[in-house]
Amino acid sequence: MKSAVVIFPASNCDRDAAVALEQMTGKKPHLIWHADSDIPDVDLIVLPGGFSYGDYLRCGAMASQSPVMRTVKERAEKGVSVLGICNGFQILTETHLLPGALMRNAGLKFVCRPVGLAVCEAQSRFTRRYSSGQTVVFPVAHGEGNYTADDDTLKALEAEGRIAFRYAEGDNPNGSAHDIAGILNEKRNVLGLMPHPERVCDALIGGTDGRAMFESLIEAIG
């Protein structure tokens, strides 16, 4: 599996994502600067966490307008896998590659802690190595992860099995509708999630529950 990690000004989990990808795939991902509209031929594009453009105006808003995102959109439409983590998820909603929006946490504070997640959809290229209903623990670290969408969108997400991860009962850190932690697009090749799988690929630093996501991708993509 060939991969790329996009770097926006003030991305800050780009290295974490690159390290996890290299560790899991054995290959260094390409690092793509936001001002470049060219992305090499890869199987997976990762939009990492961070505070692109300082999270000013709205999280992900300015990044969604950068040259590289035009290419990401094209590739996504062609079926290339796109994974948006945290700020990456926010960018994906701002780009309308994923529906809905991420608002300020209901508690109005940044929150960093491990949370329990239920894997709701194990039938995707991102989650096939998990089992449906399995509980995993990933850390969250965000101030604006409160997923919101209109009722029709929420209904569609539920009906189409596009809610990949939900916060475990009683562990919703931000007030997200339907306890949504991560969603898929209609074609199921784009996943956005607030928790950080790349921070749980190493037992020494918090666990290994994130590895199966990368293993899923490797299995699905090759």
Binding site: L57, R58, A61, M62, Q65, T93, E94, P99, G100, A101, M103, R104, N105, A106, G107, L108, N146, T148, A149, G175
Partner: protein
């Protein structure tokens, strides 16, 4: 020309920040506080001198960047 852009959450979209402010005001002893909503005020200086052209440009700025129309609505005001 100077423009003011107001960005508000759409009706029906929950505004925890506004709620918290309302609660805090009541807590401080202010009586009769109803709904409180928080939005953004963006002030932009433009070289453009034609009102209609400015409005068109500002509308485009809102649609493209300033507002997230999934949850927000915007209003443009040109300073006289």
């Amino acid at each position: 020309m100077k423009a003011r852009v107001f960005i508000r959450l759409k009706n029906g979209v929950l505004d925890p920040q506004g709620k918290a402010i309302g609660k805090a005001l009541t807590g401080l002893g202010f009586a009769g506080i109803g709904e409180v909503r928080q939005g953004k005020l963006i002030e932009i200086e433009l070289d453009e001198t034609d009102e209609a052209a400015a409005k068109t440009a500002l509308t485009e700025m809102c649609e493209k960047l300033l507002a997230n129309t999934v949850i927000e609505r915007y209003e443009i005001e040109l300073a006289k």
